[in-house]
């Protein structure tokens, strides 16, 4: 879970709607100096003032703040179950958990956003709705808490400061970017992911979960670049992902990045018709990736790498 920096969120949200500190101060019943100090983290804002400020900035405030009461505690367990079943593609079970959650959950924009998003993903994977419909639903769910994400996607709007998306909004946007990829709109996919990366660079959320989230977004971006035939760019990004994963001890991604690099090397060799990247290099990287995946029991990744190695080199990767 993320740890949000209150001052940063206020500053970024304020700037995104073009409001000055003076204007915000007026609307929230504090002095401009106080706003400035709050934004710099030098003044502790009270719960009441924070909620007032967030309202003025049209940002739903509950999430960034204290919310969990005893009756919500049960929902968190349900949410975890739901997400586990989705990640294992146990879609019938997921549907059941979703129904339970719908009944239990309190009616507020953030919860409704979550439910709508999850429902869209399940229904798409169940072949009940098309990718286009999933996109509509995901965008609808986003609108519950963000007025117009596309506005913040224009580079001019985020080149100085990103928009302070919540973690849930970020993940919803990642799902949305994926969905655009499914219908072949790779440019939009790329734009959304690049916007997310810029926003996260503002540093308003901290924690190792966020570092790993950034890496995951970069990886999705590399896949998008590959879909658009931009293999060299993808490879540059993957090398960066590799370094970041090692630094942050994101084990799962280390072998994925290594393998993806070999995939791009092969593509570039194919395209140029020459051995731009030596077979020996590709072989070595695949073995590296394989054993690192094996060390972590990442069996799915291990199998993919093994299959790719055998196809290319006509020998078992484990032959020694």
């Amino acid at each position: 879970m993320a740890n949000y920096r209150v001052g940063d969120i206020i500053r970024l949200a304020r700037k995104s709607i073009g409001m000055s500190q003076e204007e915000l101060a007026l609307e929230s019943g504090v002095t401009p100096e106080t706003i400035s100090r709050i934004e710099l983290g030098k003044h502790k804002v009270t719960q009441k003032t924070y909620q007032k400020i967030m309202e003025r900035l049209n940002r739903f405030s509950v999430r960034n703040y204290a919310i969990c009461t005893g009756k919500d505690a049960g929902i968190i367990e349900e949410k975890k179950l739901l997400e586990d079943t989705i990640s294992k593609f146990e879609l019938e079970k997921a549907e059941k958990y979703l129904e339970i959650l719908k009944e239990k959950v309190e009616d507020n924009p953030e919860n409704n956003q979550y439910i709508m998003k999850v429902e869209a993903i399940i229904n798409y994977n169940n072949h009940k709705i098309s990718a286009e419909d999933m996109i509509k639903k995901l965008e609808e769910s986003l609108r519950l808490t963000v007025d117009n994400y596309e506005k913040y996607m224009e580079y001019e709007n985020y080149k100085e400061d990103g928009y302070p998306y919540t973690e849930q909004e970020i993940i919803t946007l990642m799902n949305l970017a994926d969905a655009y990829g499914y219908i072949g709109m790779h440019e939009k996919n790329e734009k959304i992911l690049k916007m997310l990366l810029e926003c996260l660079d503002s540093g308003y959320i901290e924690g190792s979960v966020i570092k790993n989230l950034k890496i995951a977004i970069k990886r999705n971006l590399s896949v998008t670049l590959e879909s658009m035939g931009r293999y060299e760019e993808a490879m540059d990004l993957l090398n960066n992902i590799l370094q970041e994963s090692i630094k942050n001890e994101y084990g799962l991604m280390i072998s994925i990045a290594l393998y993806d690099i070999t995939w791009n090397m092969q593509k570039l060799n194919e395209l140029s018709g020459t051995e731009l990247y030596k077979m020996e290099d590709i072989k070595r990287k695949k073995r590296q990736a394989y054993y690192i995946a094996a060390a972590r029991n990442d069996n799915y990744t291990k199998r993919i790498i093994n299959n790719s190695y055998e196809k290319l080199f006509h020998e078992n990767i484990m032959e020694k």
Binding site: A73, K80, G251, L258, R284, Y291, I292, K320
Partner: protein, 321 residues
């Protein structure tokens, strides 16, 4: 599409009391086990009933006993509590960054303003003083002195034989593991393995997310080390396997190479001179390769060379990349 699960044991709280009551009833804990060493039972009852407000460290410790983690206290603390919270956050940060001088200064500052009547604050200070001593490679005696005093504050009956009704918050787990690791005199005769296993089962059942990972790995690595000291190869392999499975449920890579290499050495030691070697040799080599490549990619060149050397000398086999 890469899947992400949100770690959900972490909560932002408004009503500590409701949360404590919910989980206490869910896991069927007694009030005593939750608040023992932290506050009185009557205080806990009042907290649960929403009639008493406690400071953030007390709240964090109580929740820690039931395996729940808190963040984002920032907005609901009063000024005094916020000041303390802020210093604690800085201490943790500088400790991670190994800026020990800063940590010492902050600990001094903290001690001047911390409440005198709550054990958890002194526990916090002693714990970090011990960690500094560890970093400065002080004597085991000095280290253990601080660790023990820290632990006793919230676990006054820790020296009792029977630990079965204890529940632990993460700091207590770390203190106990460290005391065992630094061979605390008072526990030399204790059945360390049994106590560690008990704690491990506890956190497996009750903790979740990051806290479960961190505490679990700490306990398992200590169990591996104990088995190594006893030179019990089968046990080493058993705990290594369990540790690897535990770590790989998460996304990490820390300790993985070390564990695979320990396993390789244990397999070699166990089977090399027996007729089982033919079937074990392959798995021993695989363990070496996994250790080698992970050491290598994470920049631990010295360790990767050690693996290569082991393969050459003991297995008469060269790792070629």
């Amino acid at each position: 599409m890469l899947d992400l699960t949100i770690e959900e044991n972490v909560m932002e709280i408004n009503t500590l009391g409701e949360l404590l009551k919910y989980y206490r009833e869910k896991y069927d804990f007694s009030q005593k086990s939750i608040c023992n060493g932290i506050c009185s039972i009557s205080t806990l009852s009042r907290i649960e009933g929403g009639k008493k407000v406690v400071d953030s460290l007390v709240a964090e410790t109580l929740l820690g006993r039931i395996g729940k983690e808190v963040i984002q206290f920032e907005l609901i603390l009063n000024d005094e509590d916020y000041q303390l919270w802020n210093i604690r956050e800085k201490i943790k940060k500088y400790m991670k960054e190994e800026k020990y001088l800063k940590v010492k200064q902050l600990l001094d500052e903290y001690q001047l303003i911390m409440p005198r009547d709550e054990s958890v604050h002194e526990q916090f200070v002693l714990f970090f003083q011990a960690k500094i001593k560890i970093a400065e490679k002080a004597s085991y005696e000095e280290i253990n002195g601080l660790l023990y005093r820290s632990l006793k504050l919230t676990k006054p009956e820790i020296d009792n034989r029977n630990q079965e009704n204890f529940i632990y918050h993460p700091l207590e787990i770390e203190l106990i593991v460290l005391l065992m690791h630094y061979q605390y005199e008072g526990w030399k005769q204790k059945d360390k393995e049994k106590n560690l296993l008990y704690m491990f089962l506890y956190i497996k059942k009750i903790y979740s997310g990051r806290q479960k990972e961190e505490s679990g790995i700490m306990i398992l690595m200590e169990l591996v080390e104990i088995s190594q000291k006893l030179e019990n190869d089968l046990q080493i392999i058993k705990y290594v396997d369990e540790a690897i499975e535990f770590i790989t449920q998460g996304r990490g890579i820390d300790n993985i190479a070390k564990l695979h290499f320990i396993k390789a050495q244990a397999i070699e030691n166990l089977y090399h001179k027996s007729e089982k070697w033919q079937e074990s040799e392959k798995s021993c080599k695989e363990e070496c390769l996994m250790a080698y490549y992970v050491f290598d990619i994470t920049g631990q060149k010295q360790e990767s060379k050690t693996v290569k050397k082991f393969c050459k000398e003991k297995l008469k086999w060269q790792i070629i990349e």
